[in-house]
């Protein structure tokens, strides 16, 4: 279509008589958009878990968790060990969950991030417990005190890096 025709058509659009659509149609559209803009905590958690699965896999390449890793080297864990066991565990947890929180902040839609932020003290601890459960299943020797350090480090790390991710994201918008 020529641009002149397009301009004329746009004028027709602009000057169209306003006719109210049927109420049922309006309600249906608004309901669908409302539902999409307000995702449930569970659906967002599922996405977060998938992101965690992928980033967790990547983390294990350079930072073993509870002795579980893909290579024999200590990687980042070796560096963190210099500060003692507790700090090392907290740091490893922060890296493990932090990377997924950062990725989530970049990848997910704003409304999904809003849900995560709203439930951050539920979603991240749940994710950390899920990860600990998986490590136990693959035979990781987890001591209670070090497990608690890892858990706290991962939750604090995730909450902090989520904010960092949002900060980076704000530059792109």
């Amino acid at each position: 279509m020529k641009s002149v025709d397009m301009d004329l058509e746009f004028e027709t659009f602009k000057n169209s008589e306003e006719i109210s659509p049927p109420k049922a149609l309006t309600d249906n559209i608004l309901l669908r958009v409302h539902k999409d803009l307000n995702p449930s905590g569970f659906s967002v958690f599922k996405k977060l878990a998938v992101i965690q699965f992928i980033t967790g896999f990547i983390t294990l390449l350079f930072c073993p968790q509870f002795g579980v890793g893909f290579f024999n080297s200590l990687g980042l864990m070796g560096l963190l060990m210099r500060f003692g066991d507790t700090i090392c565990m907290a740091g490893c947890g922060a890296v493990f969950l932090g990377l997924s929180a950062f990725a989530a902040a970049i990848i997910l839609r704003p409304e999904e991030i809003r849900v995560i932020r709203h439930n951050q003290f539920i979603q991240f601890p749940l994710l950390a417990l899920l990860a600990i459960g998986i490590f136990i299943c693959v035979g990781a020797p987890i001591l209670a005190t070090l497990g608690v350090s890892w858990f706290l480090g991962s939750v604090v790390g995730a909450i902090s890096t989520l904010r960092l991710g949002l900060f980076f994201r704000s530059f792109n918008h």
């Binding site: 659009f13 149609l25 608004l30 704003p110 809003r114």
Partner: protein, 174 residues
């Protein structure tokens, strides 16, 4: 609060997940979009196209840049959706009345935008109607229809062919 904002600011707020912003935009433009579609299309499918326009707007909201004016952007979406609907029905119309039969029978009107508007559709079986809708309204491949209905590919082809022949016979009788 959102009522005072410009369309462009509302769109930005909507991109951040604010439903109220969408609701305000919808309130501002729904009447105009519906009025335009009523002017350009002449059947009951206006409702379907109107809904698709706003759902398409929702799907493409992140492609909107704040430097654009909102109204022309919405117009492009409206026009694209409208033409797309017309194209789909035109495809079915061509199947029913191929060039070789033109002159004997007239194809369904160009501006019809929904399969539901075809006369004689009620004479088809429920499964034939469903398959035609999947094929021409939803643009699905034979393979996808077969998968979804859990029937063979050949069965789908056969049912589409029979349904079209039936509709063609009705058009020619007229």
């Amino acid at each position: 609060m959102t009522l005072d904002l410009s369309d462009e600011d509302l769109m930005h707020s909507y991109q951040q997940g604010n439903f109220e912003a969408f609701e305000t935009l919808y309130g501002r433009y729904a009447g105009r979009v519906y009025g335009y579609l009523r002017k350009r299309l002449r059947n009951a499918s206006v409702d379907d196209v109107h809904q698709t326009v706003f759902l398409k707007l929702h799907e493409s909201r992140f492609q909107y840049k704040k430097d654009f004016k909102f109204a022309p952007w919405l117009f492009v979406i409206t026009r694209t959706v409208m033409l797309d609907s017309i194209r789909k029905v035109k495809n079915l119309s061509r199947e029913i009345v191929p060039e070789s039969l033109e002159g004997i029978a007239s194809p369904p009107a160009f501006q019809e935008t929904s399969m539901k508007s075809f006369e004689g559709l009620e004479t088809l079986s429920e499964s034939q109607k469903k398959i035609l809708e999947m094929r021409y309204d939803k643009d699905m491949e034979f393979e996808a229809i077969a998968r979804e209905l859990n029937i063979s590919h050949d069965n789908v082809r056969q049912q589409v062919s029979r349904a079209i022949k039936k509709l063609r016979r009705l058009v020619i009788k007229k």
